[in-house]
Amino acid sequence: MKSRYELVLAGLLASVGCKGPGETAPAATSAAPAASAVAAAPAATPKASDTGPIKVGILHSLSGTMAISETSLKDVALMTIDQINAAGGVKGRKLEPVVVDPASNWPLFAEKARELLQKEGVAVTFGCWTSVSRKSVLPVFEELNGLLFYPVQYEGEESSYNVFYTGAAPNQQAIPAVEYLMSKEGGAAKKWVLLGTDYVYPRTTNKILRYFLKQKGVAEADIMEEYTPFGHADYQTIVANVKKFAAGTPTAVVSTINGDSNVPFYKELANQGLKASDIPVVAFSVGEEELRGIDTKPLVGHLAAWNYFMSIENPENKKFIADWKAYVKAKNLPDGDKRVTNDPMEATYVGIKMWAQAVEQAGTTDVNAVRQAVGGQTVKAPSGFTLTMDGKNHHLHKPVYIAEIKGDGQFQVVWKTEGPIRAMPWSPFVPESAKKVADWSFPWVCGNCTEGKFKTDTATAGL
């Protein structure tokens, strides 16, 4: 939307003889980490009747720039809800999905979230993709004591009482990937290029990685950090610089380049003769869905780090893929058999199942009760492990896979963790974050503080 605005301005400037400064608003993406106060839970959620269907909100962009990625999440959420309903629903009640379209417009995300909570009275919401959209809805969920399941890998430095994070925190994706590239097997990289699109997620991730690399003994001069604007398509200079920077030393590129800029970047890499075996690129935003619809020849051998890949072989994943294919066919979704599964889809699937189990256990859809019950829930996930939701920091324990891109747009796993690892939302490598604790159990009751909210003397006084 913003680009449209600029565009009208440009047109006007051009037509009206071009006086006046071309004022364009900078993308306001640098929202501060949510300081989530526990707040005496306001009971604003309208009580759904205890017998009718349970309303479940789905808050994903179905139009605009993010539609490419988020539509699949909406589809997989509906599929999972269908499955739960087919198996008799939750506590004998059917789930009723309420799908809204925030249209890749960040402020609209907050409005739609409010609409879901206040007007529709949903018991839970599954949604958001970009960090900006999550930051936008966060105050709404906290104010109205709603429940959000967020399914995408993100930059961490956050933990909200009202959010369960089923995507990866940095220590479940970025850090292991860098460790892999440092190892002999991954090419023993000595120099590092941190390349990203200029917004919250890459900036924060690279900040954490920079601290991490320094702790591992990498010199300041051996780290190159570069950002490009959204939609950047000309990577000639950057690739040439990477080449110059890398000369003679094993080097790896950590890419947080977003969306459409990836294709010109990888094309330029291949054309300038940089092979994956010379300078491997590990990407955190390139998955099966993003590879669909691009020519993967120049990408072969480059890496991606996720917690799930479609190519992982185990019975759960086989069933998940088969269910998805059948659902796509039954609902006649666009692109038919070319549709793939990916990491955020798996995270959505796991999130919905966990929530349903928690409601069964709590016996009610009341947010306060369900929140307590979600912690500790386990689900046998398509990623091949039984995943547990951490009741303390509201993040999912996840396995980490590192895989190389193959010519057919799928991935082959080259490294994985022994099992699921616990998320560390506050990075221990960033000095100011290392002190912070995300722990929603007593005596902490806090997602973002250095000392517990619930004092021990009051606790003993209560005994």
Partner: protein, 541 residues
């Protein structure tokens, strides 16, 4: 007598040594190694590749090459097969064995590729084709392979082609520079100085410098001097490199901007239609390229590489037709009303985006570079002219040549110029102004379609492709001077080169901001752009 005896003893020793080195691994070992390739055990696979590479068996090359290309298949009995001529599978070890059970493809990852590359290259050093030898030598020069050094040295001694010899010496320098033999070290430094290869800079600076306690890292004066000379030559080369490469990158970015803006220079520059749907015409040009590619894939896969040539007229015609239809149905009712035009064409752009989404889906589509546009030539170490960028520069020159010819040398061009300069007068002398409008808009749109063909080769093709370029296009046209093609040319290349000169120093984000600031200042000082229209047309604005 004595010397002769000594010589013969030496010869025997040498023979024995050679024999021990080149004893072909027993066929059995080789077959076992081939079996190990698909074992999935990384250590085993690495050992197998090593054994095969050292076997110097003639099947080794076939085996490793198939493996590197991901085309090696292994059946359940462990017999390797590779696609031969015509693509049918045949056993690598000869004979006419048929695959037993299901075929599997051994997994190749980066670690293996790093091992395969020098192995394959060493096997290719003796090839008759100089191209193969050159690329093999270059592959070997990329990393240090001490155990391959004798092999490379022998090949370098026999080599007659100077380029290949240089590349082989560079490969040897990887080992010799770190060795203890002074002569070899000096030879390596000489080769490095001649090639000015920046990848040695760190090591050379260590050689010329002192360690923490103030002791010289390299005690030998000759070596130190040679290293100093090599560093100097590397630095001179780096300076040249940055100037030349930035200019080329600027030209290449400028030619992309030119292709995007040229269509707009006609519809907006000459006709004064603020065409917000211009970006979508670029996008449709790119989608036409995709459609032509699909057509070639389906109906003539043998000539698939030529789809791009066919896409050029197809994209021109498709977008020109859409442009003409737009002019007839919408824009001609809005001449002289810039604000309404702006809103109407904006609406059209939304309609076009959504239409394309409905037809092709919201996902990006894959447009592959034809094989003749993939890769590039290395004009000097560290600077690669990529074919796709070169092609875009050539293509943009051709397009601007075409537009210039059309406007200056054809009757239609004469009419267009007459109508845009003074519509009433042109009508007065019998020029069908309405029809000229249609054609002009059609040509402007067609040229935008040509821009789309070029963009499809550089970035991705999706419904929102045009959005990225519309602002840049307006910028170029306004900066260059509305109504002047030469201005568009100057604006595009000026912006391109300026951007690329700023980018290394300021970074991509800040560079873009500086450019925008510069344009605002420039337009305030000189609202008419670089090239101003003179005479009545300018006054009428």
């Amino acid at each position: 007598m004595n010397t002769r005896a000594l010589l013969s003893i030496l010869a025997i020793c040498l023979f024995a040594l050679l024999a021990s080195v080149s004893t072909p691994a027993r066929a059995q070992d080789l077959q076992q190694a081939a079996k190990d390739l698909s074992s999935g055990d990384k250590a085993k696979v690495a050992a197998a590749v090593d054994l095969i590479a050292k076997s110097s068996d003639k099947t080794a090359l076939a085996l490793l090459e198939a493996l590197a290309k991901d085309s090696l298949k292994v059946d359940t009995a462990g017999t390797p097969f590779a696609p031969g001529e015509g693509g049918s599978l045949s056993p690598v070890f000869g004979g006419d064995a048929k695959p037993v059970g299901a075929l599997s493809t051994p997994m190749v990852d980066n670690r293996m590729r790093r091992q395969l590359e020098p192995a394959l290259a060493s096997l290719k050093l003796g090839f008759p084709d100089p191209q193969v030898r050159l690329s093999a030598a270059k592959d070997l020069a990329k990393s240090r392979n001490d155990d391959l050094a004798p092999l490379i040295r022998a090949a370098a001694a026999k080599e007659t082609d100077p380029d290949i010899k240089t590349a082989m010496q560079m490969a040897l320098a990887q080992t010799d520079l770190y060795g203890s033999d002074k002569q070899l070290k000096l030879a390596a430094l000489g080769a490095i100085e001649a090639a000015a290869d920046a990848s040695y800079k760190v090591e050379l600076e260590r050689l010329t410098g002192k360690d923490a306690s103030g002791k010289l890292n390299e005690p030998d004066d000759d070596v130190r001097r040679a290293a100093g000379a090599a560093v100097a030559s590397i630095e001179v080369r780096a300076l040249w490199l940055s100037v030349v490469s930035n200019l080329f990158y600027g030209l290449s970015l400028g030619s992309v901007l030119l292709l995007c803006a040229l269509g707009l220079a006609i519809t907006f520059g000459l006709m004064r239609v603020i065409n917000m749907a211009h970006g979508e015409l670029l996008m449709i040009g790119a989608y036409t390229t995709f459609a032509v590619q699909q057509f070639f894939q389906t109906y003539m896969p043998a000539h698939q590489d030529w789809y791009l040539i066919a896409a050029i007229p197809a994209a021109f015609i498709a977008t020109a037709a859409i442009g003409m239809a737009l002019e007839r149905t919408v824009i001609r009712f809005l001449y002289g009303r810039p604000l309404e035009t702006l809103l109407a064409t904006w609406g059209i752009s939304l309609i076009l985006i959504q239409t394309v989404r409905l037809i092709f889906g919201a996902q990006n589509v894959a447009v592959a570079n034809p094989s003749y546009l993939a890769g590039g030539i290395e004009v000097m170490p560290g600077f690669v002219l990529t074919y796709s960028r070169l092609a875009v520069i050539v293509f943009s020159s051709a397009v601007i040549g075409f537009v210039w010819f059309m406007l200056q040398k054809t009757p239609l061009g004469l009419h267009v110029r007459a109508v845009t300069q003074n519509r009433q007068m042109a009508a007065g002398i019998g020029i069908p102004t309405r029809r000229v409008d249609v054609w002009t808009f059609g040509i402007g749109s067609g040229v935008a379609g040509l821009g789309g063909v070029a963009l499809s080769q550089l970035g991705n093709v999706g419904p929102e492709l045009g959005q990225q370029y519309i602002v840049d296009s307006f910028m170029v046209v306004v900066l260059g001077g509305v109504g002047k093609l030469a201005g568009t040319l100057a604006g595009a290349f000026g912006l391109g080169v300026l951007n690329k000169l700023l980018e290394p120093a300021a970074g991509a984000v800040l560079g873009k901001i500086i450019i925008l600031g510069f344009i605002i200042l420039f337009i305030q000082r000189r609202p008419q752009g670089i090239f101003a229209l003179k005479g009545r047309a300018a006054e009428a604005m």
